[in-house]
């Protein structure tokens, strides 16, 4: 049945572990189903990704798994692919719902943020939040949703429990989604604002880096570490060991697996009735209490 099924996986970047894992899982699942697979690395460039999609469609794919660089920018590409009879599934980053695709699968940054924020409010237990914020990259919408999600959740939880909110974001550093970026950003934040008690990062990698900085400064004990997203296994291990507060569940493998499965269903005309255009994975704040449910030392990510 080789050749009957061809899957294109167009990632806007493979330059971060999360995406590499996502693409890898999608590839595995599709190959197990007997499909031929091609993976494209958009290298963070919207124009390159548009070209990648064009090339894949020209090469004759049946299913397109698209993690779009830009919600609007890839609309035309998705429409074009669908018009050519390709079954398009969007994953992770948002694709504008006006586009022609089957469904979008992603975690809800708002829902995750709400849960992580709540957990943090509990942990602070009335203490004011003095936050060092470590953001991903400038102009990134996902990052914005994540930080606002957690801050919103924190604010709401404080209001609910105390009737007021005492939250101060002392500084925002930029860590480029990466461990070493989080490390450097944290060093400067720590120097400028020695009196923080929370580190909030937009993903685990950066918080892991920030943790190294805190460790080197001997400040690990006084600071709560939380990430808005991912559930990277190194972070989960630390959560289990009680050395890392919480993170939002954003499992790349789960998202990829479901996307490919839906794509195959669409190809075989077996789509479930009433599939909505937006499929959120279940939100969760991963904490020491529930970490065993998510920790898999063998997983890629």
């Amino acid at each position: 049945q080789d050749g009957d099924c061809s899957v294109g996986i167009a990632m806007y970047t493979l330059g971060a572990p999360y995406f590499a894992a996502q693409a890898e899982t999608a590839r595995q699942v599709a190959e197990e189903a007997g499909c031929e697979v091609r993976v494209a690395d958009g290298q963070n460039d919207m124009v390159k990704q548009i070209g990648d999609v064009e090339d894949m469609v020209a090469a004759g794919i049946d299913i397109l798994i698209l993690n779009p660089r830009d919600a609007q920018g890839l609309v035309a590409s998705a429409n074009m692919a669908s018009a050519q009879g390709v079954h398009v599934i969007a994953i992770d980053s948002t694709l504008d719902p006006s586009a022609d695709f089957i469904t979008q699968i992603q975690s809800s940054n708002t829902a995750n943020g709400e849960l992580v924020g709540q957990w943090l409010a509990n942990e602070l237990n009335g203490e004011p939040a003095r936050i060092a914020l470590i953001s991903g990259s400038q102009g990134n919408l996902v990052g914005r949703e994540r930080r606002l999600g957690v801050l919103r959740g924190l604010m709401d939880a404080q209001l609910t429990s105390q009737g007021d909110a005492d939250i101060e974001v002392l500084g925002q550093g930029w860590g480029n989604w990466a461990t070493e970026g989080g490390l450097t950003a944290m060093e400067d934040l720590l120097t400028a604002h020695p009196d923080i008690n929370v580190v909030l990062g937009e993903n685990d990698s950066m918080v892991l880096g920030a943790r190294s900085a805190l460790q080197a400064a001997g400040r690990l004990d006084e600071v709560i570490l939380v990430a808005a997203a991912d559930g990277q296994k190194e972070a989960l291990q630390l959560i289990k060991d009680g050395e890392y507060g919480a993170t939002g569940l954003n499992n790349p493998n789960e998202i990829a697996r479901r996307a490919v499965e839906i794509g195959l269903q669409a190809m075989n005309d077996e789509l479930p009735e009433g599939l909505s255009k937006l499929t959120y994975t279940d939100p969760a704040a991963i904490t020491q209490e529930n970490v065993d449910q998510y920790l898999d030392p063998e997983s890629v990510f």
Binding site: E36, R38, V47, D55, A59, Q72, G73, V75, A76, L141
Partner: protein, 335 residues
């Protein structure tokens, strides 16, 4: 002294030179057609790798995909001819992408386009002034502009993609439709290449730009205001980069400040694969176009043939080296 015309002070060498010297003749030939040869080899190779390659649809895709890099390569060629370099093109493209999405909301299309081009030209003028009149190193000045223009694009857009809204429909229509079987962005790129060809080969400006790259002092001492010419090439490069950014907005329907990150590297690579010398004075429009297409085909065929992402980068590196080796093979063999 009746026979002064007959070879006084002139070793019979020069006539002989033109007639007999095979080395430089061959080298000249390869310098002119080397890029084309590489391109043809690559196309042949590509067509064995995927049936989809030699299709009209794919050719169309390729032209459209490379239109931005192609347009920036034109400006870069002018810059490189003067011995300069422009690292800011990607960022100026981002500025162009963002501002075009903003301007079409409140201006007529021609006004919006003109304003975008003007902004790009203004960025180029700032770099050009510093480089040409204050004689500061182009690498660092355009590096600073690269940082600055990107920051500006982010500030203007507030880091959010700018939606041109319904008023931007005209722009998007232009960007996504075809004329006479070719995508409009491809037409735009091809016409700009044609204009550049005319300028570089038949105009005073083009000739002097080339001469400046070869020997700036000689041009200056010929009574020509070199700094104006040098500054101009950065203005051109900036304006064209803004156009490239506008095209991205036209194609994608959104003005993003993330456009063109690291584009300068692709653009410079294309120009050099097209045989231009970073030491100035050497390079031409047709080969630059072919250089752009070579770069495009490399990426295109790897996608078609399903080369996995990370491996693509390694192959890309290897193919660039092979292209440059071939490009310089005439020179290599001569030694």
């Amino acid at each position: 002294m009746s026979d002064r015309t007959a070879g006084i002070g002139e070793p019979a060498a020069t006539e002989e030179k033109a007639a007999n010297r095979k080395g430089p003749g061959f080298s000249r030939l390869f310098r002119t057609y080397g890029t084309l040869t590489i391109f043809i080899l690559l196309v042949l190779l590509a067509s064995t790798q995927s049936d989809a390659f030699l299709t009209e649809r794919n050719a169309t895709n390729l032209l459209r995909q490379m239109s931005g890099v192609g347009i920036m390569a034109i400006g870069m060629l002018f810059v490189i001819l003067t011995r300069g370099i422009d690292l800011s093109v990607g960022s100026i493209a981002a500025l162009g992408a963002v501002t075009s999405a903003m301007f079409v909301q409140d201006m007529s299309m021609p006004m919006a386009v003109a304003s975008v081009v003007l902004i790009g030209a203004a960025c180029g003028a700032v770099s050009g002034f510093l480089i040409a009149f204050l004689r500061l190193p182009a690498f660092v000045i355009t590096l600073a502009m690269m940082t600055g223009a990107r920051g500006l694009a982010l500030i203007l857009s507030n880091g959010q993609p700018v939606m041109p809204g319904t008023s931007g429909q005209g722009l998007q229509n232009f960007g996504t439709s075809f004329t006479l079987g070719l995508p409009n962005p491809a037409w735009l790129m091809l016409s700009l290449f044609a204009i550049a060809f005319l300028i570089l080969n038949f105009s005073r400006f083009g000739r002097l730009v080339k001469a400046i790259g070869s020997n700036e002092e000689a041009v200056r001492l010929s009574g020509i205001s070199v700094p104006w010419y040098v500054a101009s090439v950065y203005v051109i490069s900036g304006a064209l980069a803004a156009v490239a950014g506008l095209l991205v907005t036209a194609r994608s329907g959104v003005g993003s400040a993330q456009v063109g990150v690291a584009a300068e590297l692709d653009v410079i690579a294309a120009v050099v694969i097209g045989g231009a010398s970073l030491m100035g004075g050497r390079g031409d429009v047709v080969n630059t176009f072919i250089g752009v297409m070579i770069l495009g085909v490399i990426g295109n065929i790897m996608n078609l043939a399903g080369v996995p992402g990370y491996h693509q980068q390694v192959y890309l590196g290897v193919i660039i080296v092979v292209a440059v080796v071939l490009q310089n093979s005439a020179q290599l063999f001569r030694r």
